[in-house]
Symmetry: C2
Subunit: 208 residues, 2 copies
DNA sequence: GTATGTGAAGACCTTCACAGCG
DNA sequence: CGCTGTGAAGGTCTTCACATAC
């Protein structure tokens, strides 16, 4: 996971990319000041982050929007599409399956898994739900690169073991638990309760 | 937002709390080494984090599980419940409304909002969906402390303005956009596409 | 002996401030 | 003149290592 771009910068690149997409279509250049303002980041930070891409801004003018977007997409590896699998088709898994927001960035949901026989075989978002028993085989067959875990906490580790067993090295975990994975595997955690608890701290802290 | 506890520590406290809850019921003490292993954190980090709580571990033994959990809950302000409102009852908003995982931590969903007249008046997760027009009034009436934004990107800023207008200072944002808020307001961003793009970077980076 | 609590070191990240270029 | 690119300064966070306490 050794990278030439600092982790903190990597985490901001998608934000820049989105913010650039939100600009008026006729805006061809954008200064670090301006991009920073809409991305919620200091302008020096923007310049330093962008400098890691090797992109050249134009002094006195700013960055060329189209070029910078291309550079960001390329740096993030969004040029080739990735196949995504979702495990756990409950409330959240179903919402994710139906969410169209990935496709625009080249992420393609190619498999859904659940352990409940009542759900297996049903269709969600145009995809057939498969039994988690066939996870490894199907993940390999369909060339899945990213696994999304949307199961209850107690099923998450087992699903992840199967994902990694099938060779996956990228996991997005929505289950409220900390996953144990080999260090070659990248995990991003998204946990609702954790976020609410953090907000709770700052509420309390500011004297509510 | 000035706090005596570092932000990085605050972000880990909920994880510790959850991990302690996952321990066997008969385990009365836990070392920093052990807690670190299941939380995915260095043991020195655990000790330093816990030291901010003022809690005392027992040298040669570890921390008393029950006592540490109490301290964590107290530090996070989870002793009093907070009322939560969800705006945007689409796929995700509906999944969040039906998700029972908050209640156990003292978060109570007391209001749902949507701008679509077809949804207003329907029931989701036992709650009536209200028109976003009445957001400010209802938020005040019901003493909401935390606002969850699950609207499409283009509606998010307007909803947040209403939330902050009603006096909210804590926002959890699922909409794929960067919100502009007064600096007295705490925002946590949860963005699926961003997470996938970050994973994409590391996939590419490790030679996929 | 075993595990905490913590100063100090080191790594990482952000911000400043200004030289340099268009 | 305006804005980028970047060395240097200043913070913050993590890890080490060991004195300290049970």
């Amino acid at each position: 996971m050794k990278s030439s771009i600092p982790a903190a910068t990597v985490a901001r690149l998608p934000i820049y990319l989105r913010c650039l997409g939100d600009l008026a279509a006729d805006q061809s250049t954008c200064s670090s000041e301006e991009l920073g303002a809409i991305a919620g980041v200091n302008s020096a930070q923007v310049r330093k982050d962008v400098s890691f891409l090797g992109s050249q801004g134009v002094r006195g003018v700013g960055y060329k929007v189209a070029e910078l977007r291309r550079e960001l997409r390329s740096a993030l590896g969004l040029t080739k599409g990735y196949a995504v699998a979702i495990a756990g088709i409950g409330n959240l898994g179903r919402a994710l399956s139906n969410y169209g927001g990935f496709a625009g960035w080249g992420f393609d949901v190619v498999a859904l898994f659940d352990s409940d026989p009542a759900k297996v075989g049903s269709k969600v978002g145009g995809q057939r739900v498969e039994s988690v028993e066939h996870l490894e085989r199907i993940v390999k067959e369909r060339g899945v690169s990213i696994g999304i875990v949307a199961t209850p906490a107690d099923a998450a580790q087992s699903v992840v073991d199967q994902f990694t067993g099938a060779g996956l090295r990228s996991i997005l975990n929505f289950a409220p638990t900390v996953l144990q994975v080999p260090e070659t595997v990248a995990v991003r955690r998204v946990d609702l309760s954790t976020e609410l608890q953090i907000l709770s701290f700052y509420l309390k802290d500011s004297g509510e």
